[in-house]
């Protein structure tokens, strides 16, 4: 446990003493802010029209601004997470510090979890910065704390799964660019796999739909916490962390 903290602190420090965390945060906030502004602007346009149109009276901020926000953040994160995780193992493998690290009395699992949680912490800080948007929505007179909580829980679970996948890919290569490209490609595939759910045969379409990363966030964004979605993200997380452990072990046998 103490070693976990040592690794965690070091990794977190590297994110914040190098430009990585700042660059990611700035880009993330610009893009997420643009999404947020757009949906707010669209909402205000529609609400002016609603004054004359009786069919639009059910218009509300939660459905039009808050719920889409989580989907939008997850799209931006699809691009950010591979950059966040690419260095975790690749850099140490390339520079040879991995050998040094494992000559210290630490368990593989402590190193893995330390690194993993550091990346997850940066992710949560980035997502946490969008808390300002909640203040804006609240100040406009509508608040739905339940939806906000479930949405952020969904993003946390999604981030946990994304980062586990990124960490695993990083453990496979000593080239950071390859790690980022492969993580991004795999995440994207998990994203769009749901699209083919409508075109493939009967048993397979359910599988594709279930695997889709998007589908599982939709419920969270609406304020519904479904155990099926929670299990999906946790299963993805544990699966990729387990694969990372195996990948670390096999490197030593194969040299």
């Amino acid at each position: 446990m103490r070693n976990f903290w040592t690794i965690f602190k070091r990794e977190l420090r590297v994110y914040f003493t190098s430009p990585i965390a700042y660059a990611l945060m700035v880009i993330f906030l610009v893009v997420a802010g643009y999404f947020f502004y757009n949906s707010l602007a669209y909402y205000s346009l529609l609400s002016f029209q609603a004054m004359r149109n009786p069919y639009l009276e059910n218009l509300n901020l939660v459905d039009m601004v808050l719920s889409p926000l989580f989907g939008n953040i997850s799209v931006v994160m699809l691009l950010m997470v591979p950059v966040l995780t690419m260095r975790l193992w690749s850099e140490e493998k390339k520079s040879g510090t991995l050998e040094l690290l494992f000559s210290y009395p630490v368990r593989d699992i402590e190193v893995l979890l330390g690194k993993y949680c550091a990346a997850l912490a940066v992710f949560m800080i980035m997502v946490g910065l969008t808390g300002f948007y909640q203040i804006i929505i609240w100040s406009l007179g509508q608040s739905a704390p339940g939806v906000a909580v479930s949405g952020y829980l969904g993003l946390f679970l999604l981030g946990a799964a994304f980062i586990a996948l990124g960490v695993f890919v990083s453990s496979l290569t000593e080239n950071q660019i390859v790690a980022a490209a492969v993580s991004f490609g795999v995440l994207l595939l998990f994203w769009v796999i749901g699209w083919s759910a409508s075109t493939v045969e009967a048993p397979l379409n359910r599988v594709f739909e279930y695997l889709s990363l998007v589908k599982h966030l939709v419920n969270f964004a609406k304020g519904i916490i479904d155990t099926a979605d929670v299990v999906y993200y946790l299963a993805m997380t544990f699966f990729f962390l387990f694969l990372t452990m195996r990948s670390l072990e096999s490197k030593r046998w194969r040299g």
Binding site: I7, V14, G96, F102, S103, Y104, P105, V106, W253
Partner: protein
């Protein structure tokens, strides 16, 4: 202290290390010598538990490095080849991280880090980023991290590579000062390093141990008989014949074709040699007894090994 027993390591079908066996006694400095690619680094990695061996066992202080990996790693300070360090950390931060991960309590860390910085003389660099350090200082930081926590065993993979002669001397005398206190394995392909710092040498070639002894014994083993180098001013052909006819001389080789000869004799013949030269009226400029250096031993063993392997093929 360290018992390496029949250790082999295969990468797929390729043997990197084959049935290596040797012992290191407590407080001893052992030189692990071999040409590049002989399996030195692989052996070091097995010793630190980074690679599990394909066969055989390694015990450090009675503990198996594979079964009790964590306990063994607590006793070992390791300096890997090429000194990989976290460049984006300052020297002090890095050493504190190492102290932390080696399990030193919060109150002990400050003292431990201060001590190793003093021993390795890097206090002035404490606030610098490691990536900005010169090679010599990087090497010292590498040695410092191995020394943090005062481990009983030090495993140093080519600790002086890439340093300038003065730095090499400093590092060597530092290593030498550990004699008696710590058990040290030092790998190198530089021969004088071994004869200067180590009490015992294991020579490895193509993954196998080819010799194990003290540097002095190894030199003596090859230097059987007496070899004398002389420089004589006189007619080349006649001097050569006269030298050959001296009693006890086995062979005469001309070193430069201009008056320097290498004699191999069965016994001490220097007095007779001097008399013979003088009585013939030639000039004697130089006469030196040549003892076989570790370099000769090394080359000899390595080439012997090579021909043997070729014979098998």
């Amino acid at each position: 202290m360290i018992e390496v027993d029949q250790v082999s390591k295969y990468f797929g079908p390729i043997p990197a290390v084959r049935e290596v066996t040797f012992r290191v006694n407590p407080g001893e400095i052992l030189g692990f010598l071999g040409p590049n690619g002989a399996g030195k680094t692989t052996t070091m990695r097995i010793l630190t538990g980074f690679y599990p061996p394909t066969g055989g066992s390694v015990r450090v202080a009675g503990l198996d490095v594979f079964e009790n990996s964590l306990a063994v790693r607590k006793k070992i300070g390791y300096l890997p080849e090429n000194v990989p360090l976290y460049g984006e950390m300052t020297v002090r931060d890095f050493l504190f991280f190492v102290a932390d991960i080696k399990g030193l309590g919060k109150n002990k860390r400050q003292g431990a880090v201060g001590r190793v910085m003093e021993v390795c003389r890097i206090e002035a660099m404490a606030g610098r980023y490691i990536k900005k350090l010169s090679k010599g200082f990087r090497q010292r930081v590498g040695l410092a991290q191995a020394l943090v926590g005062d481990p009983e065993v030090l495993i140093l993979d080519e600790p002086t590579i890439g340093l300038d002669p003065r730095q090499i001397n400093e590092i060597r005398s530092l290593i030498k000062s550990f004699a008696g206190e710590k058990t040290v394995i030092l790998s190198t392909h530089i021969l004088p390093e071994v004869s200067m710092t180590c009490q015992r040498v294991v020579i490895i070639n193509q993954g196998m141990v080819v010799a194990e002894d003290t540097p002095e014994n190894l030199s003596a083993r090859l230097g059987g008989g007496h070899r004398i180098r002389v420089r004589i001013g006189g007619p080349y052909g006649r001097v050569r014949t006269a030298l050959k006819e001296l009693p006890g001389v086995r062979a005469v080789t001309s070193v430069d074709g201009a008056g320097t000869y290498l004699l191999e004799a069965e016994a001490e013949i220097r007095p007779q040699l001097a008399m013979a030269v003088c009585s013939s009226g030639w000039d004697l400029y130089e006469m030196v007894q040549v003892s076989a250096t570790l370099e000769d031993v090394f080359l000899n063993l390595v080439t012997e090994e090579k021909t043997e392997v070729e014979d098998h093929a």
